[in-house]
């Protein structure tokens, strides 16, 4: 089936629950409310044949309300089509239903989102940090967390210190002025 047919079927099933759809360079995105996310993803897996969960990620739109956003990249090996599903997550209760019962690979993806962004997954069988250690007090990919890090200490396990940035962070900026203006440098 073509992606357009799949999207029509998805639209018939979810109706008004789909808040918006979009297409960019052949990639289709739908946005849903958080409450309808689990149902929609289950429908994608079980009825539309999206058998492969490519990735789960999260976005921190600091300053927006709701602040966070979950992003699911789905792929169907039968139809060879890609679909992106997004849902906004509020800051005061960042709790998202797990999809690790649908795609086992979601287990580690969700642990990473939890570790880096502090979003929790209801029903996850093993929600532990995956990169940082238990007891690390911060969520490093949140926008207010400084690139250099913050001091912390879990005795006998690990400690951290703020890294010297020496005028950094050294970041690129998009510009038409050429590579010299674009290259990574301190933007203080």
């Amino acid at each position: 089936m073509e992606i357009t047919q799949l999207l029509t079927r998805l639209g018939e099933h979810l109706g008004k629950k789909i808040l918006s759809t979009g297409e960019f360079r052949g990639e289709h995105t739908i946005t849903l409310g958080l409450a309808d996310l689990a149902e929609a993803l289950r429908f994608c897996k079980e009825s539309l044949g999206f058998d492969y969960l490519v990735d789960i990620s999260s976005v921190d739109n600091l300053g927006d309300d709701p602040r966070f956003e979950m992003v699911y990249e789905l792929y169907s090996y039968t139809d060879r089509v890609h679909l992106r599903v997004k849902a906004a997550v509020p800051e005061d209760n960042p709790n998202v239903p797990t999809v690790s019962d649908l795609w086992p690979t979601a287990n580690w993806h969700e642990r990473e989102v939890y570790d880096m962004m502090g979003i929790e997954f209801a029903g996850h069988p093993d929600l532990r940090r995956i990169l940082m250690w238990e007891g690390y007090p911060y969520y490093p990919l949140r926008k207010e967390f400084p690139l250099a890090g913050k001091p912390s200490d879990v005795p006998e396990v690990a400690f951290t210190e703020a890294a010297p940035l020496a005028g950094g962070p050294f970041v690129t900026v998009p510009t038409e002025e050429g590579t010299v203006a674009r290259e990574p440098r301190s933007r203080e």
């Binding site: 990169l131 940082m132 250690w133 911060y138 490093p140 967390f145 400084p146 690139l147 250099a148 890090g149 913050k150 006998e156 396990v157 690990a158 400690f159 951290t160 210190e161 890294a163 010297p164 940035l165 020496a166 950094g168 962070p169």
Partner: protein, 175 residues
């Protein structure tokens, strides 16, 4: 010991099988030519460490081919790679398990200073936790650079007071 005269004297006409030397010179000579490395391969630099150990660069020309994966049998820890905070205390623990005398080579930018990772997750140089004898620059250093570092370490060992330096604290406590 850094001396101006030759540390070993041998005259075949009068001495036969006898060699005159100093304890320091003899012990250091044995130590520096049999450095068993503890390969602390933590990231991409470890690939160059492996290349240094393989046939093309052949670290055994310098007596350091016996890579020991037990800290209790090794003399020099080669920290090759990015030391994340998650790994840092494990590296320290392995270092603490190595018997004296022991030395440390920080191989590459990451082990020496954190390298390009000015970040919340990376220790800014292994010298924050353990004493480093030789820093090897590069990202990654070529095998030649690591071998050069090893030779520098051998030079350093040559100049040590073989026993006194190792037992400094014990001697201090005794006097």
């Amino acid at each position: 010991m850094a001396t101006t005269h030759a540390p070993v004297a041998y005259d075949s006409k009068i001495e036969g099988n006898v060699i005159f030397t100093q304890v320091d010179a003899a012990i250091n000579w044995m130590r520096k030519n049999s450095l068993w490395p503890m390969p602390m391969g933590l990231a991409c630099c470890a690939i160059e460490l492996m290349a240094t150990g393989a046939s093309r660069y052949d670290i055994s020309r310098f007596g350091a081919e016996v890579m020991r994966f037990s800290p209790r049998q090794s003399d020099v820890m080669i920290v090759a790679g990015t030391v994340t905070y998650k790994m840092a205390l494990a590296v320290k623990r392995i270092w603490d398990q190595m018997p004296e005398p022991k030395w440390c080579i920080a191989m590459g930018a990451c082990a020496s200073s954190g390298g390009m990772y000015r970040s919340y997750a990376v220790l800014q140089g292994i010298d924050n936790l353990i004493p480093v004898d030789v820093y090897v620059s590069g990202c990654p250093p070529r095998p030649e650079a690591l071998l050069d570092g090893l030779m520098k370490l051998q030079k350093k060992i040559e100049a040590e007071h073989s026993t006194v330096a190792q037992k400094e604290r014990l001697l201090e406590e005794l006097t």
